[in-house]
Amino acid sequence: MGLSVQPVLLWSDALLFVLIGVIVGLSLWARRQDALRAAWARVLKDGVAMAAATVLAVFVLIGLLDSLHFRARLPAQAGAAASYAVEVNSALDALLSGLRQRTEKTYSAPLATHLYSKEALENSTQREFPRLKHGGAHLGENTVGKLVGHELDIAVRLSRGLAGGLALWLLLVAVVRQANGLDLRALMKVGAGGSAKSAAGGAVLITLLAIFLLLGAAISLGGGYHVFGTDKVGQDVLYLSLKAIRTGLLIGTLTTLVMLPAAVSLGILAGYVGGWVDDLIQYVYTTLSSIPGVLLIAAAVLMMQVVIDTHPDWFATSAERADARLLALCLILGMTSWTGVARLLRGETLKLRELEFVQAAQAFGVGRFAIMRRHILPNLMHIVLISLVMDFSGLVLAEAVLSYVGVGVDPTTISFGTMINTARMELAREPMVWWSLAAAFSFMFALVLAANLFADAVRDAFDPRSSA
């Protein structure tokens, strides 16, 4: 007997887990650094930042669930070796298998019971709106063939979902109260810090309330309907939106992972060593940043696509191929976006280089690289951190733009960009199909807004001028 599933570790999954490991490691290290701990404590006390962080955490959770990939085991023939499905699924797919499998024939509006366009029915010469296979299938029909209680059913499901969400939230609040009963008293002793901290806690709870209510409503309605409607081939748009989150997160984080070592090392080298090294690095990044970014990326992506297409034997499954393309996109975006950070770090290094503690190290004959590592790099980390968080939202948006232009991720990869790309045609239809664009837009908006608000708070906390 083998496992009932065969775990699959895609390259992007591996890198994502490495990244998370690094972040956990760094935060453990930061806990021991007084200055860093103080700055993060300021972020923790900021209500808006903590609300944004809560939203981000939900997105990250969805993205992580979507990164646990496996191939399901096929029903085995007697005596034969266990064989696994060609399709690679994720834990999120398994959780949402209802949504994933309930596909319709084609477009249907949110919460509809019939298709969006008329079709010729069997046994009839008339063109009618056919019933959906899944959306509202549980509703009974009256004698004339009309549905009974559609609105009422939606209202009932909606209120049931909201009530469920509220109940869950109240339960959580009660648990937190219970646990914090001791904590609150401890905070009182600390003094003024307590009030700011509890304000941030309140912001988190309120954000969680909103999330729970939305979640409850989505689960309750999603059981019988397509909450965001279906797309051209009848896939549930809510499912697509949830799947697109992982793509956005990967692009936002892995790109920075690719970019960071180059940006940091080249920026510091250019600033500290100077001379021809500086000239060379400056030449490279001025050249790179004077080529229009989209053009450069498009050229690189097209070349890579040719390579992938001519070597189909490299990939066991289509998921692996799509994954390779996603990674390549991260790489290309990273190679073109390191210039900004490098330029920033070069300028800051030029300033630090003249400081007396660097000269003191030179007077001891400390080597160049040791000075860069011990004296320059640690004093630049706050800039690196700020630019990382600020770049994240820009990269999520960049993916959408690139996929819209057609040079982004693999067409089989679900992303906000591909959803918006297909929406181009849908908006031109008559009557217009608006829901996949709306769904992609609202999810992306929430993700980017949360990332931006969080980045603002991080910048404020680490900016020495704003810290009183």
Binding site: A35, Q359, A360, A363, F364, G367, A370, P378, N379, A468
Partner: protein
Amino acid sequence: MSILAVRDLSIQIGAARPVDGISFAIAPGECFALLGESGCGKSMTALGIMRLLPAAAQVTAGSVEFEGGDLLALPESGMRDIRGGGIGMIFQEPATSLNPVLTVGRQIVESLELHSPLRGEAARRRARELLDQVGIPDPVRRLDEYPFQLSGGLRQRVMIAIALAGAPRLLIADEPTTALDVTIQAQVLDLLDELRRQQGMALLLITHDLGVVARMADRVGVMYAGQLVEEAPRRQFFSQPAHPYSVRLFAALPDANRRGGRLATIPGSVPSAEARHEGCRFVERCSEVMPACRASPPPWREVDGGQRVRCFLPGLPPSVAAIVGAGETALAIEPRPLLEVADMQVHFPIRRGILQRVVGAVRAVDGVSLQLKPGRTLALVGESGCGKTTAGKAMLQLIRPTAGSVLLDGVELTMRSTSELRPLRARMQMVFQDPFASLNPRLRIGDIIAEGMQALKVLKVGAGDTAAMIGALLEQVGLRPDMADRYPHEFSGGQRQRIAIARALAVSPQLLICDEPTSALDVSVQAQILNLLSDLQAELKLAYLFITHNIAVVDYLAHEVAVMYLGRVVECGSADEVLRQARHPYTQALLAAVPRVDGLRSEVPKLAGDMPSPANPPAGCHFHPRCPLADEGCRRSYPVETRFGATHVVRCFKAT
């Protein structure tokens, strides 16, 4: 009738009270000096009077009466007329208090248009008069220049002209000369004094410099931890200070009489502004503590003749026994010099054009020759921009000299590569000026001190001994060994400078180049550091190259003095020779420009103008454009060395 009366002014920032119940009055035409160390609330008081406090600060009590009206009750629009019009203000840093993108004339006219009916050509004419009045040569041309085209001294004069544009009855000067050189400081102080006499303008002078107070003030108020502790007419204050704090401030001043001895220091540090006080604020640092001092805050007590003091002590406090040194300690002087610099030059190329052709050079150091013997102190003195810091760094090979030779204990340094120099680095180290920039904020104190030992492989023993060595070093500079685990931001300026000294000592050098090690510190802390340096010299036979512009420190500490002007040494010799029998007119003027605590004015004429640019030094003797004795010969050729006695060397045709 006073022009400004401050009563019980208190200012609060969060839990801190930087100003806590201050009362003083200024009569028309009077100069009142607020004296205190950094962080005692002087500047905050001035900003409170002008109602220019930062957003977080607020006046919690008291009143500020200006010409009979309460400033704190005025609406903001009324206050705008007072600022500039009634009360003018000049700030410490002339480089940042002028707008860099507006011409000087535009900035003066702006102030004129606000406070007078003058417009257009008339305003411009008045602006020219003002520039003339503050002693700026060629005012018509200067009106159309930008601040970056002016030197620091000229910028401060422009600031004063702008302040005068509104014809204020009171001028608040917040450390007006702290950022300037002594010769320029003397010019600016003279100007302020003259303007005050001409226009009957009252002056509130905020400073930490006893010399400036002695030069300028009619009355003095000493601030400590947010309160005035003593108020007295100048003469009385300087002849018989009544508060123990004032007495100790005087005792902490270095000068020649204390040479070889120790300076009196004030133990501990100024209490934080957040501290709550039961009794006297100075109680923790005072040597005359009585039980009453801790119980309640001391009331004002009249001494006599307008001198008041906040102290329970009846009569005057005993003067601190300034341990008068035995003069030169008769050290057996080794004949062989430890450091020998001959004709060292540091030129920075000036590049222009697309091809970056070298079109000239900034001659920062232009032929310096020095000798320093083991266990001795050589002071390198000069105004900012004369190349003394560059010279110090070039001796350490932190900046490679363009020409000349540097011998350390007979070993030539200039020809060696970076790796060949490394073993020699343990023998020469540097202590930097700014204790806040010279320690990496991300490293622990222990790591900072260990860095040199690791880099130079001074340690041949195990790691446990490293910690022991760091502890011993920290104790040697007067800190506790357990401080090794802390970060620099937890320390005060004086403590940081001690750490910087410990870092240099870690590799047991023979030569320590100290680049203005006390200029960023308060007087009482400066005394601690100077004491530490002289103790270390006695203990370890260190040779110091002391780079400074502070003549008093030189007088106290140095065995030999070299005076630099525009990249060259113009006079050198033993401290007595250079400071008592100065032969070079520049040295004489430099010494005369130092404001003296005893208030005496010297007869030597003060220097006019600024130092020329080292990119384009004057022909002949560099000093001739500013020299009162210059003649045709001085303009033609650079003077050769003239020797007076065995050690005294002067480069001047006129030296006799």
